[in-house]
Point group: D2
Chain length 271, copies 4
């Protein structure tokens, strides 16, 4: 079989390495999730099950890609931040984004039934992905702030919109017109005075989205080993420290979070 | 909320449009599928169920991306060819590859149970993807020939290897050494003289892989309409022509296939 | 000297190979040539000396880069077309465009005095460059047609504009307003009826720009050698065939030129 | 003239913006300068005239591109560093590198006669260029240190090599073999003990290369204006502060230079 004759086509493949010493952010977004959420009866304005499923898929991704230092998700999007010095897949953008979006997508379907026990998945959902590079820590924090600010703005809008529709009896169109030109303060006021809703008391996961960070947890595992007291090799319970991705629903725009998690940004590659 | 202050981070996003008037090939490959196939009891050298599941996921992709003109799959890889003139996602490489790899991955999990009724999926599998551009029809055909030649070479090797192991009682290492320096003719001879296997009679799906092409099929649907004979609007059975992706296990290296499917290459963008 | 300590910075360099089997076009444009032409007393609407100097610089480029198959220039721009199969500088876009723009720029200054004997060069001019890839012959021809059509349109406009100013006594502003909304036919009419200029009789170099193509020319050189008649080695006049870039001022939009120069496009790389 | 019909070819042009908030380094190198230096009788190991001409061309570049914050040259190469926040040509890599390499090349020829009054330029020289991005100040300093360390290593080698040839009467081959496997200390010793040359006393421009930095200089210009004492508008001598590129031959590897020139790195774009 004349393999060599065709092999030249490999020369058309290109490399797309990410610039060294920059933060690599991979953001994925649901494809046609407006329709997907309707088809699967997501509650409005937020569906707790859907958000937890997103987080679960993101945890799977983090467990597979240990060079992710922080992730942030809200609505049908998730951002993964790879450390500046990562050499995963030689920093090739295509490899990184497709692997992560693939693992996220298959995990979303894999864990569906557990989060939607009463709602069968009707068709496989899709996500797109992109790679963005940030040279400085400030750029990276501003990126994450941008996504969390976006979460807040959308959630306030949606909370107000659906209160007007679900409790106020408005049509979608009427609700939209009512709040189109309002500021945040106005929406807070509508929620409070018309529906008795104090927006500040809304669940943090809705207002802040989800941050996934690594935490060292103790884990008890069985291991065949000796101890100082007992020189015979036998199975024993041993405590190990393991990195585990844990979800937080907290502000990442201010400095407090970053002061409490100095590890995330301190890593320096080539100085 | 000071959204505008963070918005500048969008400037760090880049466009990555594919050169116009070139064939866009997106190939995806299973990640760690050696381990995955072992963990899920795939039969060796080929698992019919696994191949059909790959094909099923690829069909889902084609139905979602109608600008794909042909797809080719073998083992744990699949290549999708978008027509030269496609303007899907403005030809942005990142969008195209992540959408396709995402849809493939979620479909693979979604359809798993149907193809592996007795084998639960233990964890979500991953695939990577890449984009390759081919300027000429000859380049494209050579790419597809390269993949099909690769299928043949690997399958002949694997068929021989596993015959030596499963029927010949060799260890993996022994089998590997036995055929390391052999040519195709030698492997054919081993199969025939030692195991009575005529390689030519092996299933085409193993030897050739799977080509997915569009076929126009008639479909009977219900539609509320009038006819010439009956001017009253009422539900009627109507026949529609619809494009459907159909699998073939045939040679695509020679000219016959391309003469029988002239539509695939004839499309010309900007001449 | 700790060289190795700094060497890592090379990893930040990127490769930018051009897609194989595509025409590589490098176009360069004068920087601030409006001002440059005024500072150096270029005649309007066309300065024969300046055009010949551009052509001379382009010839120098072609002699240095023998993989250029055709070049086209007009006004202060020049396009160089590298053959599809060129492996010059491993097809790296940065190398190709900087080398060509550099050689053009230094040649422009080097040959200045010969073309402008009475006009000293007051400061070194600048050119920018870009790389554009064209997959098909039709795309390439359309690119060259686009530049030649542009030459015609600008030249007709400028010829008309400067006739109104130089012979018609209008201000620049008046001339501009007079022809702003006219079609080609109107401009031809103005030139003919008001100034007795038949645009068709204008010099071809102004109307068509300059095409540089290779021609095999005979060259007489001295070489120390034997002949059949005289077996003694001695210096003799020998005729050699040599590729030489020659300027044409001819239509390249229609088919005639391409039928007369079949070599330019026939080259095929990987088919 | 059917311009619109061809205009589509513009879609094949690509953008290549440099990542924001990174240092943009453009390095250019002489093409075939070994031959060029021989053809033009450059003295070995260093030709003062040639180095000054390089510096002169680099100054011209800096005067045209005021966003360059520092330049460094040695031998036949020069590096230009654009400030992190530059928006020159929208940070398009092609534009930046071709403009700079073009201006450098034409300036080199333009100023030739002044630096080589007795040596006519025989043919126009060429330079190539490339763009490299550095995210952090440390990366940028390490890049410049890499080039200066390279200058030192090459100059020590060349000084030793040419002493052996010019004063020691060795052939090139003999000299090469003599120092092939020596360390810096060995070369210093050869120079001192065999030729009485103390390498430390060699000219700084040879050992360190040339750094070009901006300096604010006072300039006396004529300006028509009033003064407090004399309210009549008349031409007067006025002192203006102007940025001027000045050459230094100093160490840029250590901290001293950077402490003395804090402006170069302090600029911060998007923090």
């Amino acid at each position: 079989m004349a393999k060599s004759k065709f092999e030249y086509v490999r020369q058309f493949e290109t490399q797309d390495p990410c610039l060294p010493n920059t933060w690599i952010v991979i953001r994925l977004d649901g494809r046609n999730f407006h329709r997907f959420s309707t088809d699967h009866g997501f509650t409005k304005p937020n569906d707790e099950r859907a958000l937890q499923l997103m987080n679960r898929a993101a945890e799977t991704v983090m467990n597979d890609f240990r060079d992710i230092v922080i992730s942030y998700g809200q609505s049908d999007e998730f951002s993964f931040v790879l450390k500046k010095s990562t050499m995963l897949y030689s920093r090739r953008a295509s490899k990184l984004m497709t692997h992560i979006v693939s693992q996220f997508s298959s995990s979303y379907v894999f864990h569906w039934a557990q989060h939607f026990p009463d709602q069968p998945l009707q068709y496989p959902p899709g996500f797109d992905g992109r790679v963005i590079l940030y040279p400085s820590n400030k750029n990276l924090r501003d990126y994450l702030s941008w996504r969390q600010a976006d979460c807040h703005i959308n959630n306030l809008y949606n909370t107000c919109f659906w209160a007007l529709v679900q409790q106020g009896g408005m049509t979608n169109k009427q609700a939209e017109e009512r709040i189109r030109h309002t500021f945040s303060a106005d929406k807070n006021e509508i929620l409070f005075s018309e529906f008795g809703i104090n927006y500040n008391n809304e669940p943090e996961i809705y207002k802040k989205g989800t941050v996934l960070v690594w935490k060292r947890v103790e884990e008890t595992v069985m291991k065949t080993c000796r101890t100082e007291e007992d020189p015979v090799e036998r199975p024993r319970e041993v405590t190990k420290l393991r990195k585990k991705a844990v979800p937080l629903h907290t502000d990442i725009i201010g400095d407090v979070f970053w002061e409490e998690h100095p590890d995330i940004l301190e890593e320096e590659c080539f100085g």
